[in-house]
Subunit: 370 residues, 2 copies
Amino acid sequence: MTKFEVIDKPSHLMAYEAAYNSIEDSGLSINDIDAIVLGNMDVDTNGERQRHIPTILSSLFKKNIPIIRTPAACSSGGSALWVAGKIVENDESITNIMALGVEKLSPCSTFIVADELMMAADQQFEQPEGLIFPAQNALIAQQHFLRYGSNLDDLALIAFKNHENAFLNPKAMFYGKKISLEKIKSSSIVASPLRVFDCSITVNGGAACIISKDKSDVKISGSGLSVDYMATFEREDMVTWTATKKAAEDAYKQAGLQPKDIDLVEIHDAFTIVELISYEDLGFVEKGHGQDLIREGTVKLDGKLPVNTSGGLKAKGHPISPTGIAQVIEITEQLRGECKERQVSNARIGLAQNIGGAGGTAIVSILKKS
Amino acid sequence: MTKFEVIDKPSHLMAYEAAYNSIEDSGLSINDIDAIVLGNMDVDTNGERQRHIPTILSSLFKKNIPIIRTPAACSSGGSALWVAGKIVENDESITNIMALGVEKLSPCSTFIVADELMMAADQQFEQPEGLIFPAQNALIAQQHFLRYGSNLDDLALIAFKNHENAFLNPKAMFYGKKISLEKIKSSSIVASPLRVFDCSITVNGGAACIISKDKSDVKISGSGLSVDYMATFEREDMVTWTATKKAAEDAYKQAGLQPKDIDLVEIHDAFTIVELISYEDLGFVEKGHGQDLIREGTVKLDGKLPVNTSGGLKAKGHPISPTGIAQVIEITEQLRGECKERQVSNARIGLAQNIGGAGGTAIVSILKKS
């Protein structure tokens, strides 16, 4: 992957850098890559005017191989990974497939980015009400607080944990930058109760991984993708995201594993409340008890179930499409023991959860050390 | 599929109509559908402000199944079909998968549509030069004329043939509307040498098909997808689209068939010149001899190799994403003998070719009667 940062670099150069990092890591050459699945949301914020990016990749990488694109809002990368897995498993002519995510969101006004991203929410009711994603997630946080006794301090602890992890991750936007709990707690309110530091940070970047039929040191042993109703008000329960539950159920089943078997997790913490309810939806704790895991330190780097050792979307950064692939890179590097100061000891099984919209699409992947 | 027409209907209603037509045709119920792959280009022309359509389909159809989206400019539908085929072949939990294409391009100014679609062309050189798709294809036509002696009359004959076929197709934009050869030849020039009637017609619509593991009367026996360099000037040969050649090669190989085995064809005639060069790229005739097939009547409805019996993009209409799926619907209905006045006799094997951009992405599918 590239470093996640606010940098004015064309999409195709970030794609190039990420792709060649993955090729170098794999020990393969570009000629060994038989197909590419691209996660890219194709937002109009960046002036690139490009709606047919697979052909750009053909020019950059390799001519005439299959290259397809799988946008799914913030889960475009996870979708690419899921589709790539299906294709390589099945297609005799494909030995190595690349899942690639790239997005350029800036430089442009945050107003434009917010407006573009809002198009991933319901057009008929949510958009006209101004229910941008911070507002949407604020309502969910309020519900969880009210029903289950979680609170703003819990969310601040999640933000603090992820910033502590990002401090140790050279690829993270907030690498080497200390953010104190006081700073988090005193930051401005964006949509009550959520503060600035409850929201992930918009960055640019690219991330790629190669899924191979050949033997590898890390295996995807389960991968589920599920789609839910778009609008939050349509759901049976505002604070339960059934797309996550169903995707996780499928992934656990394929892998023959249970939540208790997981050693570390990357969660789609677009907002701190999403990390909290995902502890529950992924089966690590009963519904309504997510806050226990952060209060007791279970999900800290040295806890029993470290979550977002990379820094998460919160502090590593959230460039939309690369996010789902960067999660899998973190898990892979952890399972290989390459994470230095933020290394989790004895990690053998990791889980990554990528979400599009406010729970609209979810992908859960389980990775296992061979 | 829906009728292809210029009608102001929301995307999701066209998707609904197409999907339920396919479900009704298959004898299945919505509960039998295990996953959906959506072709949709998500253009900003229509005011729908919706970039996460899979979640809308979840609300419309079935909750929590995998739904992904595969935009690829004008080949979004063909890409959906190709991906759906890969998934259903491989995934044990998926018996029936739907490939669905939907697009709403109008009502809006043709200027906006042209600008949106141009984003599927190269941004660095082609877009600033005003090389919209009619201009791009005009250059290709000029080259073919110059090198191989084809001419405007050949293109007019292709347009005339497709309008004659559309006259008989109730789902076509030009159903029941006679267009004379004189009218075609005297129509205004859009980009020399191409006239209005050399260009396909922009419509709205939806199309869906279901690929099943269970026995069916029509089988996809080969399916290839290939991506080429984006910009025409990057190609070795302007009048040869290698993405088509490579996709066709893969499809023929998988099916164990050759061009001479094909009984009927749907070609991506976004412009009449594309149909002509595709006769060559698909292997039905040597490079430089495409014009022979239309001059000799080989590709007419009563010819040896009928092409675009549906009316093609030219006269059935080209709603972008549904196009690649509508082609497969036509082939299927022909193989089943359901096409009444435009029925091809003794059709057992059909081929569909869907293109994105000016040859950037190509999908070739071969269908066979069981």
